[in-house]
Amino acid sequence: MLANYAFVGVFFVAAVIFPLIPIVAAYFLGPKRPTPTKLDTYECGLEAVGDIRVQFKVQYYLYALAFVIFDIEVVFLYPWAVAYGELGLFALIAMAVFLFSLVEALVYAWKKGALEWV
């Protein structure tokens, strides 16, 4: 029984090692000719300003939460759409309920002003 879980461990180790390999390889293989510009923090090609530890507006999080919910919704919708032919009316209703609750959450957030940028 315990052996069955061994692959989880192997997976875990592999997951750590795999991203490490290119980083380590780049460190050893890549030529290093630093200039101040190269050492600068990369921020979409713009010049970095101030400390990275800034306070974010709480609205960011509200947006992010709303986004994540609707992002997840898609994950559910795809398999549902693929199997729709087999599932029939019941699945339609089930998905309608699911979508309704999401829409309701959106309406709530909207009405409460969570989507307004202040």
């Binding site: 029984m1 087999e86 599932l87 019941f90 309406v107 009405k111």
Partner: protein
């Protein structure tokens, strides 16, 4: 491609749940469009929904059914508990109708959250599957975290909400881990299936280790919800900081739901392993009895005292849980009945006591020092009498509901062979009388130290009258309640 068949769904099982869920969703939208000054309408609508849901359960009384592949159950046990939850939620909302505006925290979401929490409790009572139990637990917990911190921006309320969240998340993590271990050991998440597996054949030694570790973690998680020692430390802080109606809801609803799930898990899934878990649970019961009652003994803050007392009461109910698992049919059923009767009595009593607290808190905050009850009899004789009845019921003095609760639990535990545990229970109950009586003394035989404003309103009075009448009726004529409780059987226990 194989045909996907959807098994027929027995909607009876989910009727009450659907009503509450649906109504909560609708109310959330309604609350958005109700003007701020009329927001108590949402409260009335919420009570209406609770009443409808309670009524909808009546036609199904007596049978037992399951659906969603055994994930959701409806037996008389869960129906009885559902009614308890619905009633508790209705009383709590009634208490809140005037409490919220007086404290400047009246928002429509409050009532909706109470409904969602109620739905979570019902899931805990009806769940036939570990995942459903976890779902119910999380639904209940998340809403309660918010409700606890509802008195924003009062710092005590915020802090207690945060403490509840932190410790609750801790407990939730253990439950998930426990569920995973049990699934690993038995290959199933369904309580009945797990019970069958365990009853039929002995597991491999390795699997047994996983099973027991998982069971221990799940007991921990539910133990947290019912405030069982040593997982009880959140209770006093959270009760103290939470808005008082929420504290009432925590102390009755949340605890009852935790017990509902604990009994189901221990009896249905782990019933055959009773000899293993009984000694551990007995030890925890003793710890709970002692820590709760001694904790209450040293309190001068009434809200904290009630919190510690609720820990102690969890200890008494644990005696019933112990008996519930006892082999030999009758003793087990006795235990389930004892837990249910105790819950009923405890719910009535605590709702009454917290109702009086709310009446005292009508104008701003109190420090809840015991002195604030001084001389209440002289100024508000009815309130003081109500509180006295509740305290006597908590102390288990006849003829009150609390006496029968204790009596039934002790009888069940004694018959299941926990004689020494019963004696500890009786002794701690004798100690417990002391701290309840301290408040009675303050109310009846102390000079009013200073003006403590007490106000009641029709809704609060209605809730109080229901609670007090319930305590006395149950005290003098417990037969109907006992009859109801005796018909409330766990489907698997009855079916065996």
């Amino acid at each position: 491609m194989t045909e996907i068949t959807i098994p027929p769904i027995d909607w009876r099982v989910a009727t009450q749940l659907c009503i509450i869920f649906g109504w909560a969703s609708v109310l959330l939208i309604i609350a958005l469009f109700v003007p701020r000054s009329r927001i108590r309408v949402v409260g009335y609508l919420a009570i209406a929904g609770l009443v409808v849901a309670a009524g909808a359960g009546i036609p199904f009384w007596g049978g037992s059914a399951e659906t969603f592949g055994g994930m959701l159950r409806l037996d008389t046990y869960s129906m009885m508990l559902n009614w308890l939850f619905l009633a508790a939620a209705a009383v709590v909302i009634a208490y809140s109708l005037n409490y919220l505006p007086k404290h400047g925290i009246e928002h429509g979401e409050y009532y909706v959250l109470v409904l969602f929490a109620t739905a979570g409790m019902m899931l805990l009572a009806q769940g036939g599957d570990l995942i459903v139990l976890f779902l119910g637990l999380e639904l209940l917990s998340l809403t309660l975290y918010v409700l606890t911190g509802f008195a924003y921006p009062r710092e005590t309320s915020e802090e207690s909400g945060m403490k509840y969240l932190l410790t609750g998340a801790f407990a939730g993590g253990f439950i998930v881990f426990g569920i995973a271990l049990i699934y690993g050991a038995t290959g199933s998440l369904n309580l009945a299936a797990i019970g069958d597996t365990l009853a039929r054949a002995a597991l491999a030694a390795e699997d047994r280790t996983y099973l027991y570790a998982g069971a221990a973690l799940i007991v921990t998680g539910f133990g947290y919800k019912i405030a069982m020692a040593p997982f009880h430390m959140w209770a006093p802080d959270v009760y103290e900081g939470a808005p008082t109606p929420v504290a009432a809801f925590l102390s009755v609803g949340s605890k009852a739901a935790g017990f509902a799930a604990l009994v189901r898990f221990l009896v249905e899934a782990m019933g055959s392993q009773w000899p293993v878990w009984a000694p551990a649970l007995a030890t925890l019961a003793i710890a709970t009895l002692l820590l709760g009652n001694i904790g209450a003994l040293i309190q001068n803050n009434v809200k904290r005292m009630l919190a510690y007392s609720s820990v102690g009461h969890a200890g008494y109910m644990l005696l019933g849980v112990l008996a519930a698992g006892a082999p030999g049919g009758m003793a087990g059923q006795r235990g389930v009945e004892a837990v249910l009767l105790y819950l009923l009595a405890y719910m009535l009593t605590n709702l009454g006591a917290f109702g009086v607290l709310i009446a005292l808190e009508q104008r701003g905050e109190l420090t809840w020092d015991i002195n604030q009850f001084a001389g209440l009899w002289a100024r508000r004789p009815l309130l003081a009498s109500a509180m006295a009845i509740c305290l006597l019921s908590l102390a288990g003095v006849p003829p009150t509901a609390g006496f029968w609760g204790k009596f039934y639990v002790f009888t069940a535990a004694w018959q299941a062979g926990f004689g020494w545990l019963t004696i500890i229970g009786i002794l701690t109950a004798a100690i417990a009388a002391f701290y309840y009586v301290r408040i009675v003394v303050q109310m009846f035989t102390a000079e009013p130290s200073r003006e403590t404003p007490a106000e009641t309103d029709p809704a609060l009075r209605a809730g109080l009258v229901i609670a007090i009448a319930g305590i006395l009726v149950l005290g003098f004529m417990p037969a109907p309640a006992i009859d109801l409780v005796q018909r409330s059987v766990l489907a698997t226990v009855g079916g065996q």
